[in-house]
C-alpha cells in the first residue's frame, strides 16, 4: 500500500492544543456538578418537609475537624503535583501520603457520624425524607471521596515502587483536579446540610 500523497500546506508553527486529560477531567467535573446539583436541589426542596422525626436540628453535629482535614488535603495534593513537576519525587510521595491520610480521616469521620445517627438516633435512609436526602447527598459525596482515595492509593503504590516521575506529572495534575472538585463539592454539601439545612 503506497502512502497517501496529498499536497497539504506546511504545518503552522507553534500548534499547541490543550492536554486531552485536563479537558476530559474538566468535562467530567461539569457532568458531576450537574449530578450533585440535582441532589442538592432535592435536599433543599425537602428541608423541613419530613413528616416524622428525627430532624436535622436534633441529630446533626457539625464535623469541623474532618472538614478541615478534607480541605487541607486539597492543598497537599496541589503541592504534591507541583513537587512532581520539579521532579522532587520524595517530597511528592510524602505529600501524596499525607493527602491520602487526611482523605481517609474524612471518610472515617463520615462513617463515625453515620454510625452515631443509625445506632443512637435510629435515622436510616428509609426513616423519613431527611434520612433519604441526607444519606443520598452525603453518601454520593463519600462515594466520590472513596473513588478519589482509590486512585490516589494506586498512584502512591506506583510511587513507592519508584515508577512515578516527572513524566507522569500531567496525569497527577488531572487526578489533583478531581480531588479539588471533591473538596469543592464538600463546601457546597457542608453549607447545605450543616448550615442552611438546620
Amino acid at each position: 500500500m503506497s502512502a497517501i500523497t496529498t499536497s497539504f500546506p506546511d504545518a503552522p508553527r507553534g500548534w499547541d492544543l490543550p492536554s486531552r486529560g485536563k479537558v476530559a477531567m474538566a468535562s467530567l467535573i461539569l457532568a458531576e456538578s450537574a449530578i450533585f446539583t440535582i441532589f442538592v436541589v432535592a435536599y433543599l426542596f425537602y428541608v423541613g418537609k419530613s413528616l416524622t422525626g428525627p430532624t436535622p436540628r436534633e441529630v446533626l453535629a457539625t464535623p469541623i475537624f474532618y472538614t478541615i482535614c478534607l480541605l487541607s488535603s486539597s492543598l497537599t495534593i496541589h503541592l504534591a503535583a507541583k513537587a512532581l513537576q520539579r521532579n522532587y519525587t520524595r517530597l511528592f510521595l510524602g505529600l501524596l501520603l499525607l493527602t491520602i491520610a487526611m482523605g481517609g480521616l474524612f471518610l472515617f469521620g463520615t462513617a463515625q457520624e453515620w454510625h452515631r445517627l443509625i445506632y443512637e438516633h435510629g435515622l436510616t435512609i428509609s426513616t423519613n425524607l431527611f434520612g433519604t436526602t441526607y444519606y443520598s447527598l452525603v453518601g454520593l459525596h463519600a462515594f466520590h471521596v472513596t473513588v478519589g482515595l482509590i486512585m490516589l492509593l494506586i498512584v502512591a503504590l506506583f510511587g513507592l515502587a519508584g515508577r512515578v516521575g516527572i513524566k507522569q506529572s500531567e496525569r497527577v495534575e488531572v487526578l489533583s483536579m478531581y480531588w479539588h472538585f471533591v473538596d469543592a463539592v464538600w463546601v457546597v454539601v457542608f453549607t447545605v446540610v450543616y448550615v442552611i439545612g438546620r
Binding site: M1, S2, A3, I4, T5, T6, S7, F8, P9, D10, A11, P12, W15, L17, P18, S19, R20, V23, A24, S27, L28, L30, A31, E32, A34, I35, F36, T37, I38, F39, A42, F45, Y46, K49, S50, L51, I125, S126, N128, L129, T132, T133, S136, L140
Partner: protein, 557 residues
C-alpha cells in the same frame, strides 16, 4: 473526482476466519469500527422499536380493536419510546459522531479509544438489559413482562407499590447504564475536538459538523447527568425504601417531573443538533456553495444549547404551576425558535443561487428542512401555555414530537446514511432504491403524522389502548396506520439498499460527491490510521484548496 492531488489506493481487505473477524470487532477500539457498531446496534433496535410502533398502530386501527390487551399496550408504548430515544437515536448519532469527527478534524482516533469502546458496550448492554425485561421482568418464573410506566416513568407509577416485580428496575438500570455510556462518549467527543485537531484547524476553520457535535456533547454533560441523578434517586426509593418521590412520606411527584424534563427537553436538542450538523455538511456540497453564514450558524447553535436548558417545564403546563412559571417557560420556549429560524434561513441561503443536485442525500435534506419547519411551528403553538392546556397529552402532541423526531431527525439521518455510506463501505448506495426509499417514506410519513394532528385536536388522548366508535376517530386512525405501514415498507427498501449495495454497489472512490472536508481525502473505507500523514489545513474547505490551487479559500481568510 476533479483532483489529481489525491491518489489513495483502496484498502486491501484480508480474508480471515469469521471467529477472528468477530474477535476483532468485539475488542476494537478503532473509532470507525465503534461508530459502525453504534450504528448497526441502533438499526437493530430501530427495527424492534418499529415493530412496537406497528403493534400500537394496528391496535388503534379501529375502535374496540383487541389485538393486544391494555397491559401489553402500555408495555408497547413504554418500550417504543425508551428504545427509540435511548437505544436508537442517541447511539446512531454517537455512531456518526464517532466515525466522522476524528476524520473531519484530521485526527487518527478519538482522544480516548478505550473509553470509547467502554461507552459503546455500556449503552449496548443497557439496551440488552431493557429487552431482557421481556423475559425477566417478573423474576424469571414463567411469563415475564416489560416496563409499562411510560418512557418518562412518572411518580408514583414507578414506585414499588404501583410497579411490582422487576420491570421498572430493568427500565431504570437500562437508562442509567446508557446514560453513563453517553456521558463517557460526550467527554470523549469534547476532548477529541478540543485537543486532537490537526495543525491549522483552528476553531474557526472546523467543519460545522465538528462544531455542532462539540455543542451537543456539552449538552449531554448537562442534560444526561440530571437524568442519571434522578435514576439513582428512583433506585434509592425502590431498593432502599427512600422517599424522594413518595408522596405518602411528604415526597413530591412533581419533583420527578422537573428532574425528568430537565433532561427531557435538552435531550431533544441533543438529538437534533447532530442532525443540523448533517444538514450543514450535505446541503453545501449538493448546492455547490460554501455554507452561508458559518459564524452565525455556530452562534445560533450555542444560543439554542443555552436557551434550551431553561425551557423544560413547558412539558408541565398542565401540572398546575404558578402563572409566573407558565409565563417564563412560554417565553423561553418561544425564544428557542429564533436561533432555530436563523439556521433554517442559513440553509436556504446556502441553497439560494446554488447549482442544486437532487441526489438522495439532498432529497432527504430538503424533506428535513420542510418538515422541521412545520414541527417547529406546532412547537411554537404549544409553547403558549393556554393553548397547551387544551392539547397537552393529546395526539396533537404525539404528532408534534414525531414530526420533530421522524420528520426532522430521521430524515436527516437517512440523508447522512446516503451521504457517508460510500465513505464507510467504499460502495455507493443505489440511487434508484434511494429514490423509492425517499418517496415511500415521505408519503408514509405525511400520511401518518399530518393526519395525526387531527384526532388530537378532536380530543383523542395519547396512550389510550382503544376508543369508542362514536368519537369519529376511526377513519383518521385507519389512515395513520396505513401510513405507518408505508413507512415500514420504506424502511425495508432502505435495509435492502444497505445490504445489496454493500455487495453490488458501484465503487465509490475517495471522494464521490466532490466534497470539501477532510474525510474525503482518505480512502473509502479509510485505513485504521485514517491519514498516512497528518493533514495541515489553511481554510474551512481544505479539499477545495487542494483541488483549486489557483483559487484557494485560504486566500480569502
Amino acid at each position: 473526482m476533479s483532483s489529481n492531488a489525491i491518489t489513495v489506493p483502496a484498502v486491501q481487505i484480508q480474508d480471515r476466519p469469521w471467529v477472528d473477524k468477530l474477535h476483532q470487532w468485539v475488542t476494537t477500539t478503532d473509532h470507525k469500527r465503534l461508530g459502525i457498531l453504534y450504528i448497526a446496534s441502533a438499526l437493530l433496535f430501530l427495527v424492534l422499536g418499529g415493530v412496537e410502533a406497528l403493534i400500537i398502530r394496528v391496535q388503534l386501527m379501529h375502535a374496540h380493536n383487541d389485538l393486544v390487551s391494555p397491559q401489553v399496550f402500555n408495555r408497547m408504548f413504554t418500550m417504543h419510546g425508551t428504545t427509540m430515544i435511548f437505544f436508537v437515536a442517541m447511539p446512531i448519532l454517537f455512531g456518526f459522531a464517532n466515525y466522522l469527527v476524528p476524520l473531519m478534524i484530521g485526527a487518527r482516533d478519538m482522544a480516548f479509544p478505550r473509553l470509547n469502546a467502554f461507552s459503546f458496550w455500556l449503552s449496548f448492554f443497557g439496551a440488552l438489559l431493557l429487552y431482557f425485561s421481556f423475559l425477566g421482568g417478573s423474576g424469571l418464573y414463567g411469563a415475564g413482562n416489560a416496563p409499562d410506566i411510560g418512557w418518562w416513568a412518572y411518580a408514583p407509577l414507578a414506585a414499588r407499590a404501583f410497579s411490582p416485580g422487576h420491570s421498572s428496575d430493568y427500565w431504570t438500570l437500562a437508562v442509567l447504564a446508557s446514560g453513563f455510556g453517553s456521558i463517557g462518549t460526550a467527554i470523549n467527543i469534547i476532548a477529541t475536538i478540543v485537543s486532537m485537531r490537526c495543525p491549522g484547524m483552528t476553531l474557526g476553520r472546523m467543519p460545522l459538523l465538528a462544531w455542532l457535535n462539540l455543542v451537543m456533547a456539552g449538552m449531554v454533560l448537562l442534560a444526561i447527568s440530571p437524568l442519571s441523578a434522578a435514576q439513582i434517586m428512583l433506585l434509592v426509593d425502590r431498593y432502599l425504601g427512600g422517599h424522594f418521590f413518595d408522596t405518602q412520606a411528604g415526597g413530591s411527584a412533581v419533583l420527578w417531573m422537573h428532574f425528568f424534563w430537565i433532561f427531557g427537553h435538552p435531550e431533544v436538542y441533543v438529538l437534533i443538533i447532530p442532525c443540523f450538523a448533517f444538514m450543514s455538511e450535505i446541503i453545501p456540497v449538493f448546492s455547490r456553495k460554501p455554507i452561508f453564514g458559518y459564524p452565525v450558524m455556530v452562534g445560533a447553535t450555542v444560543a439554542i444549547a443555552f436557551v434550551s436548558m431553561s425551557v423544560w417545564a413547558h412539558h408541565m403546563f398542565t401540572v398546575g404551576m404558578s402563572s409566573y412559571a407558565n409565563s417564563f417557560f412560554t417565553i423561553t420556549t418561544m425564544a428557542v425558535g429564533v436561533p432555530t429560524g436563523i439556521k433554517i434561513f442559513n440553509w436556504i441561503g446556502t441553497m439560494w443561487g446554488g447549482r442544486i443536485q437532487l441526489r438522495t442525500p439532498m432529497l432527504f435534506s430538503i424533506g428535513f428542512l420542510f418538515q422541521f419547519l412545520i414541527a417547529g411551528l406546532t412547537g411554537i403553538m404549544m409553547a403558549s401555555s393556554p393553548f397547551d392546556w387544551q392539547l397537552s397529552l393529546s395526539y396533537f402532541v404525539v404528532a408534534h414530537f414525531h414530526y420533530v423526531i421522524v420528520g426532522g431527525i430521521l430524515f436527516a439521518l437517512f440523508g447522512a446514511f446516503y451521504y457517508w455510506y460510500p465513505k464507510m463501505t467504499g460502495r455507493m448506495l443505489s440511487e434508484s432504491l434511494g429514490k423509492w426509499h425517499f418517496w415511500l417514506f415521505f408519503i408514509g410519513f405525511h400520511l401518518t403524522f399530518d393526519v395525526m394532528h387531527i384526532p388530537g385536536i378532536l380530543g383523542m388522548p395519547r396512550r389510550i389502548y382503544t376508543y369508542e366508535p362514536s368519537r369519529g376517530w376511526d377513519t383518521l386512525n385507519l389512515i395513520i396506520t396505513i401510513g405507518a405501514f408505508i413507512q415500514a415498507i420504506a424502511i425495508l427498501v432502505f435495509v435492502a439498499n444497505l445490504v445489496i449495495s454493500y455487495f453490488k454497489g458501484a465503487t465509490a472512490g475517495n471522494d464521490p460527491w466532490d466534497a470539501w472536508t477532510l474525510e474525503w481525502s482518505t480512502s473509502s473505507p479509510p485505513p485504521a490510521y485514517n491519514f498516512a500523514s497528518i493533514p495541515v489545513v489553511a481554510s474551512r474547505r481544505p479539499l477545495w484548496d487542494l483541488k483549486h490551487p489557483e483559487d484557494p479559500d485560504s486566500r480569502y481568510e
